[in-house]
């Protein structure tokens, strides 16, 4: 394996880029970043490998968090609990992992496997099963590929360890895991069902850690030069500007371990006199312009700070903030009929046919 040692600067960029790909959810990577800074200061290092370097019989652990980002902002999180989730799974399947992977590149989970990588001396695969963030475990390329939906390990910092041993499909894993997560306090660290190298090579969404680093690097460079950071993202990614405006209302509620709600915006600049609304379930799901659907999942809807270009999360966005909304293209697999079944607007309860911002 040609593992690349990540620099702290790479990880700083990853945190910014993963937050953009988090599309409002996934939790702010700031806390995982702080943990990485502390780990690097103690001399630990994280490594990255491309999926193509995996042997077919390698065993890959998807390690990350689930639950409401709001809770993560209070409970923070530490590297040892992530290691414990991976060890819990190893004890359960009586095999050792040879690599780690992100369970979703968007948000804090884009950085969390690096926390375990630094302590466990295992490389992180430059792939993930979402290419963004999504609220539910079956909204993944691995579930679309029909890979085994269990077992799944869930741990809590207070010494709680659970394994969902066997389920018929990913939706059931999600339902049962969600109940455990809610009992833990709507936050849990998980180890996803183990995958072989061959499975990841076939079903993973590849190069996503590198992509997030590139987006973050573009934003940070633009900030440093006092240039337009949103334009910098659109220069490295084929995205579309959707809206500019000010937050006039955020309605949110915590149900079933999700943060659901509606964001309302008043247009500014070229969008003066226009209103926008974005519905969210942790992530931004559907954006409307004057109540007409404008963009929807699986297209990535990113709400960014107008000045810094950094992402604004659904749990922290507030009245009066000035934001720019852009769309980024989704991973190809989500545009297939099977993909749209799982992550299209109907999967979130909207009676709408998917229309991509990018299809015109």
């Amino acid at each position: 394996m040609t593992a690349r040692e990540l620099t702290l600067d790479d990880i700083e960029s990853l945190a910014v880029g993963a937050w953009v790909l988090g599309t409002g959810g996934g939790g702010n990577p700031y806390v995982p970043l702080l943990n990485m800074r502390a780990l690097y200061k103690q001399g630990h290092r994280a490594h990255l490998i491309p999926a193509s370097d995996l042997a077919d019989d390698d065993l890959v652990a998807g390690a990350g968090g689930m639950g409401a980002p709001l809770v993560g902002a209070e409970r923070l999180g530490d590297p040892y609990t992530i290691v414990r989730a991976v060890r819990t799974m190893e004890e359960h399947i009586k095999r050792k992992f040879t690599a780690l992977m992100s369970v979703e590149i968007g948000g804090g989970n884009g950085v969390r496997p690096l926390m375990a990588s630094a302590l466990m001396k295992l490389p992180v695969v430059d792939s993930d099963p979402m290419g963004r963030a999504y609220p539910e475990g079956q909204m993944t390329s691995t579930a679309i590929g029909g890979l085994k939906p269990s077992p799944l390990a869930l741990v809590d910092v207070r010494g709680l360890e659970s394994v969902v041993h066997s389920t018929p499909n990913a939706k059931w894993t999600e339902r049962v895991a969600r109940k455990i997560c809610v009992e833990y306090g709507s936050t849990a660290i998980m180890c996803a069902p183990p995958r072989t190298g061959a499975e990841i090579k076939k079903w993973g969404i590849h190069g996503t850690t590198t992509k997030a680093i590139a987006i973050g690097h573009a934003v940070r460079e633009a900030q440093r030069r006092h240039e337009d950071a949103v334009a910098a993202i659109l220069a490295v990614e084929p995205g579309v500007l959707l809206f500019k405006g000010k937050v006039i209302d955020v309605a949110r509620r915590v149900t079933e371990g999700y943060l659901r709600g509606v964001l309302r915006l008043d247009g500014s600049d070229d969008f003066r006199g226009v209103s926008a609304r974005i519905d969210f379930q942790n992530e931004w799901i559907i954006a409307y312009r004057d109540e007409q659907p404008l963009a929807m999942s699986p297209d990535l809807i990113c709400v960014l700070d107008q000045v810094s270009g950094e992402a604004v999360g659904s749990e922290t966005i507030r009245y009066g903030q000035r934001v720019t909304v852009i769309a980024l293209p989704p991973p190809e697999i989500f545009l297939t009929p099977k993909g749209l079944d799982r992550v299209g607007p109907r999967a979130f309860g909207y009676d709408l046919d998917f229309r991509s911002v990018f299809s015109s």
Partner: protein, 512 residues
């Protein structure tokens, strides 16, 4: 309505007397090293004008950069004991973990992390380990620590663990000054904790400063209550400002922008405030400074304060001028302008000397700067204007030329024609805009309570009504009230569809 507004800046202390909405008198005195001498001098000279004889003053409103400067310049800070309730969570990221090292070294008197805290739905995360809190308090006492910052997981939803811990500490250290993070409020443990620790670090300075302000007023013979201006353009009574000095952090900038709006009658414009040491550029929207969006760092510490979005550059009336090669700022003579400037017999060439030489200002001794010819002065003014233009351009949110209000003691550095500006507006008393902003500071009303059996819309509307009534009771004109913060949080664990709503409204002081 008669108010005295005072702004204590790094270079000058400005004071204005406002009666029935008009600036009756404005004065400027150098800021003294002990701060209060300048305030006392201003108040005494206001008194000596006879303008106040036999008249009632409704309030002395003081805006000060004292607290934020203490953090930025790392001086006069109190050692703080940090107590976090939430173990075993977050153990890898203890209090002070994301502070700049130099500031943490100055402020951190010790960190204690014990079991406690809540879940998002109000269940305890862990029972509060009271014995551990008492042990921590004894260790704090042994170290001679008196200022304590307490944080707890989800304390904005349920502050009981923080309050109980405060009681337990007070039992061990009766004169402890305690900041609970729930008083500063939002979700986000690290940022809330940081705000609390900064507040605790200002405990001694805030006690001494507010006492000195009160002494100055008493000594000047003016019988009026003291108010301290806050970041959001409102005022707080002295006792509250003493307890929560962090809320006064950015009031200087807010005051000058509000003062500029008031003096110019404009609601939307760019404001450039040229002080002695720095120039702040910000944008007025509807008469208020546009707020910074992202997490605000104070002295390198990440917080969730609402602050005006400002760009500061090192340009002002006291800026050092170097002629070959040409350089203006960022160094400044600061409050020593009237001593160290060449026109005043000192040795340091400043932008004020250039203004005196070119006849723009009548200050000091013009003969002492007679050697500076017109071409030299023009070069320095051009360079200052270039620095200002660059800053204005960076703060613009849309293309096209904008109106610019130039205020502050160094506003003479802003020419009438500038790139990207449709009109430069200089206003009467503009050199004291921040004191004017302090004098016209608004009154606020807040409602923060749990509503049951109401829809979200009904609950917010009820909270708004209560906040409005409170603002009016505190002296605001109802027609001018506007909502500046509105936040609601569902409390799933309480019966009957409970929601906690926090609404803050502000309004202008009603005319009497």
């Amino acid at each position: 309505m008669r108010r005295i507004g005072i702004d204590v800046g790094g270079t000058n202390t400005d004071a204005v007397l406002i009666e029935e909405g008009k600036v009756v008198r404005a004065m400027k005195a150098p800021t003294s090293e002990d701060v209060t001498t300048g305030i006392l001098a201003s108040l005494k000279s206001l008194g000596s004008t006879g303008l106040l004889t036999g008249k009632k003053v409704d309030g002395v409103m003081i805006g000060t950069t004292h607290f934020i400067n203490a953090v930025v310049q790392r001086r006069n800070l109190t050692k703080v004991a940090a107590l976090r309730l939430g173990m075993p969570a977050a153990a890898s990221l203890p209090p002070f973990c994301d502070w700049p090292e130099d500031l943490a070294a100055l402020v951190c008197g010790g960190v204690w992390m014990v079991e406690g805290g809540h879940e998002y739905d109000g269940r305890p995360f862990m029972p509060l380990d009271e014995a551990a809190v008492t042990r921590a308090a004894q260790e704090m006492k042994a170290k001679g620590l008196k200022s304590v910052g307490i944080s707890s997981i989800f304390s904005p939803l349920d502050p009981t663990h923080e309050r109980r811990a405060a009681e337990l500490i007070t039992a061990v250290i009766p004169d402890a000054i305690i900041t609970c993070s729930s008083d500063l409020g939002r979700i986000g443990l690290l940022e809330r904790e940081n705000a609390g620790l900064l507040n605790a670090a200002l405990a001694d300075l805030s006690r001494d400063t507010i006492a000195a302000f009160e002494d100055s007023i008493r000594e000047s013979g003016i019988a009026a209550p003291l108010f301290i201006t806050q970041n959001d353009g409102t005022v707080a009574e002295a006792s509250q400002a003493r307890r929560l000095p962090v809320y006064s952090f950015a009031s200087g900038a807010t005051n000058s922008m509000r003062g500029a709006a008031y003096l110019s009658g404009l609601q939307d414009a760019m404001v450039i405030d040229v002080g002695g040491t720095t120039t702040d550029v910000g944008q007025l929207k509807n008469g208020f400074p546009r707020e910074a969006n992202s997490v605000v760092k104070v002295g390198g510490v990440r917080t969730l304060f609402r602050m005006p979005d400002l760009l500061s550059i090192g340009l002002g009336g006291g800026s050092h001028v170097q002629l070959d090669p040409l350089k203006v700022g960022p160094l400044s003579v600061g409050y020593k302008l009237l001593k160290d400037g060449i026109a005043f017999g000192g040795k340091q060439l400043t932008t004020t000397d250039i203004a005196v030489a070119s006849g723009l200002l009548e200050l000091g001794d013009r003969a002492k700067v007679a050697h500076l010819d017109a071409a030299t002065c023009k070069k320095v003014f051009d360079e200052s204007a270039r620095l200002a233009e660059e800053a204005i351009d960076r703060m613009k949110t849309e293309a096209g030329d904008i109106k610019l209000i130039a205020v502050g003691g160094g506003a003479f550095l802003i020419p009438d024609k500038m790139a990207g500006v449709s009109q430069v507006i200089h206003v009467e008393h503009g050199d004291c805009a921040n004191a004017v902003g302090a004098a016209i500071a608004q009154v606020s009303g807040e409602c923060d309570q749990i509503f049951k059996d109401l829809s979200r819309v009904e609950a917010i509307s009820a909270a708004q009504g209560i906040a409005n009534d409170r603002a009016v009771a505190a002296g605001a004109a109802r027609a001018t009230l506007s909502t500046i913060e509105s936040e609601d949080m569902p409390l799933a664990y309480l019966p009957g569809n409970s929601v906690r709503v926090r609404v803050r409204v502000v309004g202008d002081v009603a005319g009497s």
